[in-house]
């Protein structure tokens, strides 16, 4: 069953094309890595799938629907930037999200915050960078959404935070039910998770295939393949 499908998807900002002619299909239950150098269009692709941006042209189907209110309800999006209000504590954020997503599991959110050693009573703005990343991920995973879109969840954070975040992703992942699309540069940490990878360069797909197939064809790690393809 297909979770995400795009056809000739393009996005232009003023005179610059962020994505051009992206056609891909992602099966439900897969963990997919969206890879590529800075400016390759990874974040834009995730934003389009999350419904926070609209495409310039092309078609998108997320969980069988065009991105909109219903797909937003069924998917969780974690942007690269810190998108919570600085004064928002974990408890307040849980209450806030609970008002919009009735399936939001507040107990799970509190448990995940505890697991990631983030106090639910501390304001988001007063947390360290690593703790902010943990805070964001805990709340995204507590949604138990059918589709989870993670944009650089490991970017620029310490080793301990990375380990906790990876542990949480693996621990909460519901095999076969949940689709995770993860855009990242930290390939050496996560490439073992991927069922499939999509490599972007200058807004175009240069390679999209199952991870194991790529490794055997190229006789490289995924990181090595990305380095070679995007050089």
């Amino acid at each position: 069953m297909v979770a995400v499908e795009t056809r000739e998807l393009s996005k232009r900002f003023a005179s610059r094309w962020a994505l051009r002619g992206i056609s891909l299909s992602i099966d439900r239950g897969d963990i997919v890595g969206v890879l590529g150098p800075n400016g390759s269009g990874k974040s834009t692709l995730l934003k389009l799938l999350a419904g926070v941006q609209r495409p310039t042209s092309g078609l998108i189907s997320v969980l069988g629907q065009t991105p909109g209110q219903d797909t937003k309800r069924r998917s969780a999006y974690l942007p690269e930037v810190d998108h919570y209000y600085p004064g928002m504590t974990g408890r307040r954020a849980i209450r806030f999200l609970g008002a919009f997503f009735p399936g939001f599991d507040s107990h799970l959110a509190l448990r995940l915050l505890e697991l990631m050693a983030v106090s639910p009573d501390e304001a988001f703005g007063s947390l360290s960078r690593g703790h902010r990343a943990r805070f964001k991920l805990a709340l995204a995973l507590a949604r138990q959404a059918e589709l989870v879109l993670l944009d650089e969840p490991l970017g620029g954070i310490d080793v301990l935070s990375r380990e906790r975040i990876l542990h949480a992703i693996l621990h909460e992942y519901r095999v076969g039910e949940q689709t995770i699309i993860l855009a990242t540069h930290e390939l050496h940490l996560v490439e073992g998770l991927f069922d499939r990878v999509v490599i972007l360069k200058e807004g175009r797909i240069v390679l999209a295939a199952p991870a194991d197939q790529l490794r055997s064809q190229w006789s490289h790690s995924i990181e090595g393949i990305v380095r070679e393809v995007c050089a």
Binding site: A14, R73, R74, F96
Partner: protein, 263 residues
């Protein structure tokens, strides 16, 4: 009627959460503005005694400062209510919520309405009370017919002025909000959009002589209490303000829904 699916959020609780969020964001500037108004009026009372009479013009200017600063606050609030979201990246949280732009911008409008009404009551109310009871307007000698306000009608006049004033503040707030939303579409247009919005507002506002068209509407304040006198602020003006607020808010919500604000 089909019941709503279980997974659909209750709009009321979502709206309340958005409203509380806005209230928390702007509570500090509102408290500062209220304290500023109280201090200014207190100062006017202190220097306005016969022993230290500083002159009616200076007293009038001092008392006019709190209400006259509110339009600036409304414009600032209108720009920053969306601008701060973009600067802090929190717009991505709002855009990822499963609600329409009218819910998000509606909460912002209601929060601004409540905040600006409270400030108008505090700042404007205190100034008005001092202007009327300190007989400052009469001492200005700007024409007794227009500015003499009888004690019996002052409350109703004040009520009407408050409604008109808040509607005008909301118009400025919404114009700033819309200008920001348009500016997000094409950054080069941001300055032009802001300029055009306010010039447009002034232009439409100058059409208040259309009052005969709306004469059938019930008068909001002129007929409440006291003998009918010259109305400072007509229902037509209030209605135009409200219509403009609604129109600009609707356009901004459409821009939000169409995703152009994130373009």
């Amino acid at each position: 009627m089909n019941p709503k699916p279980e997974h659909e959020p209750r709009l009321s609780s979502a709206f309340v959460e958005l409203l509380l969020l806005e209230g928390r964001r702007f509570s500090t500037p509102l408290l500062i503005a209220a304290a500023f108004s109280v201090l200014v009026v207190a100062q006017a009372v202190r220097v306005g005694t016969p022993a230290t009479d500083v002159g009616a013009v200076l007293l009038f200017l001092l008392l006019a400062l709190p209400p006259l600063s509110l339009p600036l606050l409304a414009i600032y609030w209108g720009f920053s209510t969306l601008g701060d979201e973009w600067r802090g990246h929190t717009h991505q949280l709002l855009l990822s919520l499963p609600v329409r732009g009218r819910t998000i911008l509606g909460a912002k409008l209601v929060a601004a309405g409540l905040g600006l009404s409270a400030l108008s009551l505090v700042g404007g109310g205190l100034s008005w009370w001092r202007l009327v009871h300190g007989r400052v307007l009469e001492r200005l000698d700007l024409g007794r017919e227009r500015f003499t306000i009888e004690a019996a009608t002052s409350v109703s006049q004040a009520g009407l002025v408050l409604v008109w004033f808040v509607a005008t503040l909301l118009m400025l707030f919404t114009a700033a909000l819309l200008a920001y939303a348009i500016g997000r579409t094409a950054r080069r247009l941001q300055g032009w959009a802001a300029g055009a919005s306010f010039i447009g507002l002034l232009g439409v506002w100058a059409l208040v002589p259309l009052e005969p068209v709306t004469r059938w509407l019930p008068s909001i304040g002129c007929q409440i209490g006291g003998p009918p006198g010259p109305c400072l602020f007509s229902p037509a003006e209030v209605m135009f303000d409200a219509l403009l607020v609604g129109l600009m808010w609707w356009v901004a919500a459409r821009l939000w829904d169409r995703g152009v604000v994130e373009a």
